[in-house]
């Protein structure tokens, strides 16, 4: 890994790691027994580990200049492996919290393991750990190929990958220690937020520098989506997280927003994290991997333009549908509802564009579980965007809000759309990246597919049932005109569905474990077959370094 870095880049990485070590040390010193102090120690350890790694390879001979004529894929490889590791953590913790609602004593009487602390561990690990790493890894792969250009340097992609994972690590360990801002999907405290901004700026600059080196005159659709993901997430993250820390020695901070303004800002962030992290980014993934795997061009270039700008414009208005019938002014609720309904048009245009791209390749969908992952993802994208627009209607929302229906909706999108398109893209890229003809086992991909689909369907149906039952029980009146059910009655009615949900989640987790095994075996055989080749024997075509060639 280090031999790919130029001498200057090796020196620069040592400087960066030294600065990080000093930062960690000072955080540990001023934070002391505050969570900030523990995080300082974590940063210091990470920096020291990085320093050892760079120094151990520091005197390795520099790779020749011919490497500059091929794509730089090492960061994508590492990113994919890390993404799968986060998937295991996130899905495991998710299923654990699901079982806690079946049996609340599964906390084992420890503070760190209670529902309220590990639920954000689950959401952060799957959204930012699994989803974010997959987005970064695939975006590096896609931006180079669609631009027919190598990344401008070898250091900044590593800074992005490792810097981003340091953020994820600070976030997740913070929750376990009780350090959280309580802002949903933006729980990490101020210092982790600042660190993410630095990483994100480097990511954005790297993306633009690669695009500026492109030999294709046009910027391909996938890159528009990745760009929107990077840019808008930056805006959302910075605005939503403005806060005043208690002191530089405290992890705790107080948001500058309060009450109704804070509610609107948080859901403007929250809903658009769904939009630009979990939709735009993954649409970028889909627009590259689905046509590539199907061997078909995108069905309509014009539909992709309309849906791109539709999503970018409409989504930003939709956040207030999370606040129907609350103390948020009525006019904002109405705007949110209106734009949410309109959002169906660009959403279905994207889903339709993806499915129509498969025309002429449906036999491949039947035979190839990897492509089927992507197809089912597009279907779930269509389903959950329809459901989302429907639930944003005020009268529907009066029933669905605060219930498990919302949880079911989120997981239809997260498991059915985000995770499926990611697994499909990862199964497509792993053989490409590690120079293998195919995955280690096609049958295991097939097994993963059916486990993931079954798990998602069981999960979503369980939550639809429980959510609607809950909503109806809360508003049912008896003949004498009083409420028919106590809150506890509704809670008892949820029990069988909570068991079903946890089983659905377990199936999904088992699928991901199989996926990890399959990927691991593919990587191992790649290493072995490269070693086994006789010196001088030419590598098979799939194993050659990808040159910068016009193929997109």
């Amino acid at each position: 890994m280090i031999e790919q870095l130029s001498r200057n880049e090796r020196q620069l990485s040592l400087v960066i790691l030294l600065c990080l070590a000093v930062l960690g040390l000072s955080m540990a010193a001023v934070g002391r027994d505050d969570p900030l102090g523990a995080h300082g120690a974590l940063v210091l350890l990470a920096a020291i580990g990085g320093l050892f790694f760079v120094i151990s390879g520091y005197y390795a001979p520099e790779a020749g200049p011919e490497r500059l004529h091929s794509y730089y894929d090492d960061p994508s490889k590492v990113g994919i492996v890390i993404a799968m590791a986060w998937a295991l953590i996130g899905l495991f913790v998710g299923d654990w919290v699901a079982w806690q609602l079946v049996n609340p004593d599964l906390t084992f009487d420890a503070p760190w393991s209670s529902f309220g602390r590990i639920r954000p561990v689950h959401t952060t690990a799957v959204i930012f750990g699994f989803g974010g790493n997959a987005l970064i890894a695939t975006s590096f792969y896609v931006m180079q190929r669609t631009s027919r250009a190598r990344m401008p340097d070898q250091l900044s992609p590593w800074f992005v990958v490792f810097g981003y994972n340091l953020f994820c690590l600070l976030a997740v360990t913070g929750y376990l220690m009780g350090s959280t801002q309580s802002k949903e999907y933006a729980e990490p405290e101020w210092y982790a937020d600042i660190w993410l901004v630095i990483v994100w700026v480097v990511y954005f600059v790297l993306y633009l520098r690669t695009l500026s080196r492109r030999s294709e005159p046009h910027i391909y659709v996938a890159n528009w989506y990745y760009l929107a993901f990077i840019l808008v997430v930056a805006v959302l993250h910075i605005v939503n997280n403005i806060a005043v820390p208690v002191s530089f020695g405290h992890a705790k901070s107080y948001s500058i927003f309060s009450g109704v303004q804070d509610a609107m800002t948080q859901w403007w962030y929250g809903h658009n994290a769904v939009a630009f992290f979990l939709t735009s980014g993954f649409l970028g993934m889909m627009y590259y991997y689905l046509p590539k795997r199907a061997g078909r061009p995108i069905f309509s270039y014009r539909i992709s333009i309309i849906s791109f700008w539709g999503i970018t414009f409409f989504y930003m208005w939709a956040g207030s549908h999370h606040l129907h019938y609350t103390a948020l002014p009525h006019w904002v609720q109405t705007l949110g509802m209106t734009f949410s309904v309109m959002l169906l048009v660009p959403s279905w245009a994207s889903a339709g564009n993806a499915l129509l791209t498969l025309n002429g390749a449906w036999h491949k969908v039947r035979d190839d579980a990897t492509l089927r992952f992507m197809m089912v993802a597009a279907v779930f994208y269509g389903l959950s965007t329809f459901e989302g627009s429907f639930m944003a209607i005020r009268s529907v929302n009066s029933l669905s809000h605060y219930t498990d229906w919302t949880v079911g909706h989120v997981h239809a999108g997260a498991l059915g759309w985000v995770a499926m398109i990611t697994f499909g893209s990862i199964y497509a890229s792993v053989p490409w990246l590690w120079k293998r003809p195919a995955m280690h086992s096609a049958r295991l991909v097939e097994a993963h597919f059916w486990l993931a689909l079954a798990g998602t369907i069981i999960y979503v149906f369980a939550m639809w049932n429980s959510g609607i039952i809950q909503g109806l029980m809360w508003r049912t009146y008896n003949e004498s005109g009083t409420l028919a059910y106590s809150f506890v009655d509704s809670l008892v009615a949820m029990h069988p569905y909570y068991i079903a949900r946890a089983i659905g989640g377990l199936l999904f987790l088992i699928g991901a474990v199989i996926g990890c095994y399959n990927i691991w075996m593919t990587i191992r055989t790649a290493a072995r077959s490269a070693d086994a080749r006789a010196p001088g024997e030419p590598a098979p075509l799939y194993a050659r370094k990808p040159a910068l060639e016009p193929a997109e």
């Binding site: 705790k252 927003f257 970018t312 705007l335 809150f487």
Partner: protein, 245 residues
Amino acid sequence: MNVFGFHYRLERKAIGLVLAIIGVASIGGIVEIAPLFTIHQTVEEAPDMRVYTPLELAGRNIYIREGCYACHSQMIRTLRDEVERYGPYSLAVESKYDHPMLWGSKRTGPDLARLGGKYSDEWHVAHLNNPRDVVPQSVMPAYGWLGRTDLQAADLGAHLKAMRAVGVPYTDDMIANAATDAYGQAAPDTPFAEGVTKRYGEATNVRVFDGAPGRLTEMDALVAYLQILGRLTAAAQKPLAAAKE
């Protein structure tokens, strides 16, 4: 010039795309959020509204730390069944001093916006120690360690100062006495108790919340917070009272 022709040229310019994305994406947020700070009617007037005492604020921070908001909302919607189940619907002014707000998005447990005064301190302590002792069907985690953990009160002044920096009207007097006020609110028979009612009003709850005098625990703070929910102002009760007359 047609739209697609324009786009055909736009997508050849990375900076053009970047600016277009930022421009198009900014409009929604600006139109929906900025007016909430300027339109006067967004937040009602409530002259009787008081700030959290240091002990209540510490309790609120424990509520945040433990992620209670993941299962409990603090926002009663303007729907008949919610008002009958939980009490008068929530007003914007009631969370005016909530940095951040804790309206929540999910009710795995019931709404807590009007919890204050609904149950006794003893009930809360028993419930937090093991929810199934008082509600056999509950799926809430047990928080037994709260009553065994001393509250970190020494730096509460710094917390109040940070809250003042974001716009909550804490006085210098309140900030200077934050730590002793936290102690005094849970120790009614000590000289520190007097200052609490002097600074935060006669109606402030001053008592041994966790049932164990002499020691200031996280349980004291959390129960003090739960007992003030919905009681910082009586503004929400007014529309109801007016309707009855």
